[in-house]
């Protein structure tokens, strides 16, 4: 079994330095949600020299647009969206002190460079297990861009939210490492899982 590291937000550089690609991590504390439309607005504010709607320093962004919450529930299903669409915006936020991002899928060279330079880690949550992940979210509140609906910025209070480190600050990349390990097999050893 792979050991799990537990971290709390806001995150310090010490915490970030301890994380390596492939680590399983459980996060407790606050996550801020943002996806395409919110990122566009945040970066627009930075370019105009204006304040962001929350202090991003030491924080973790979760790329998610949840389903509507049923009565009595803090949130609906809430799994990660594809991070690549945030690539044009992420370096601006990383320069501002963002310490972590949670999404799914590979990041661009520019984002990885910014992460190494400014000490920020990229985590993946397991894509498509949104009902399961929502159980670790205890509270959710919209704090900015309410007009964006599912794309509004929410503060999430999470407990042991499960993620995996994809990119660490040392250049480690779990997607590349995982691929290398399992793409070097002999094709004749591959078993098809067709029901036959």
């Amino acid at each position: 079994m792979i050991k799990t590291k537990k971290i709390k937000t806001p995150v310090t550089d010490d915490t970030i330095s301890d994380l390596r690609a492939g680590d399983k991590v459980e996060i407790t504390g606050i996550l801020y949600t943002a996806r395409d439309a919110a990122h566009k607005r945040l970066v627009q504010l930075i370019k105009e020299g204006k304040d962001l709607p929350f202090d991003i320093n030491g924080q973790i962004l979760y790329f998610v647009g949840p389903t509507p919450s049923k009565p009595g529930m803090p949130i609906g299903s809430a799994g990660p969206t594809t991070s690549g669409r945030m690539d044009p915006y992420s370096p601006y936020l990383i320069e501002r002190g963002l310490k972590g991002m949670i999404g799914k899928g590979a990041r661009s060279g520019g984002v990885i460079e910014a992460m190494i330079k400014h000490r920020c880690v990229y985590f993946a949550a397991i894509g498509g297990v949104a009902a399961l992940l929502s159980k670790r979210i205890k509270k959710a509140e919209i704090i900015a861009f309410e007009d964006l609906g599912t794309e509004a910025i929410r503060v999430l209070e999470v407990e042991d939210f499960p993620v995996i480190v994809i990119n660490d600050i040392y250049g480690g990349d779990l997607y590349k490492e995982g691929l290398k390990q399992y793409s070097s097999l002999n094709i004749h050893d591959i078993i098809n899982c067709h029901p036959r």
């Binding site: 647009g65 949104a130 599912t150 490492e177 399992y182």
Partner: protein, 281 residues
Amino acid sequence: MRRIHFNDIVEKVRDLCMEANYSLSKDVIAAYERALEIEKSPLGQEVLKQIMENARIADTEKMPLCQDTGLAVFFVEMGQDISIAGGLLNDAINEGVRQGYSKGYLRKSAVAEPVFERRNTSDNTPAIIHTELVSGDRLKIMLDIAGGGCENMAALKMLRPADGIEGVRQFVIDTVRNAGANPCPPVVVGVGIGGDFEKVAMIAKKALLRPVGQPHQRLEVASLEEDLLKRVNHLGIGPVGLGGLVTAFAVHVEIHPCHIASLPVAVNLGCHSSRHKSITI
């Protein structure tokens, strides 16, 4: 002429949208079980178990399997001996989507136009509807929930006939490799070969509606599916892209006659949460 009432279609589509987003069909669950037997990566195995647990929670609690409850894509087969009383077929389907996405607490992920304001339509309409007239007096409505993550990794190429089966193979493998972790593997790979530009895309998507792993009826196509699946799984992408032996549960190929000068090929990927349901009225 058999009459089907507008409201009957609305109600059926409403329920179909909710069911498709909460509960996976048996063929998908069976594919998960087979994948777990084959997968060697410890992390991959763990991911597959979580995918199965997620399916259990969503089904029991009537929660969306994924936060991306998609655009609702319909393939409709309408018998020629049917008349719809009280309105148009497309209006009935869209009203069903409207009601299902609201009542079912599903995410509204449709924007009114693609490049100007991208304003959310707030009710997940319009649905994408493909209708085909067939013989008989039945109305078959097939729904595919198309999430953005995998839909964005789809690709189409007009090959030269000289590129042949090797060209097709290369294009399918390149498309899955390029998609990496984005489409939430293990995926179902829908492949269209033949037809023309729009037909090939349509059959690639329709291939995703087939029960997972059900081979094509034509032997040579079925063996192409087998061959492609082996090559796709040889990529090593694995469950959610963390490395492993199961990158795809299945490859479904559909073929169609085409022009003497053409060899169109399209690839449409379906995520592990393969949400498709159909009803016949």
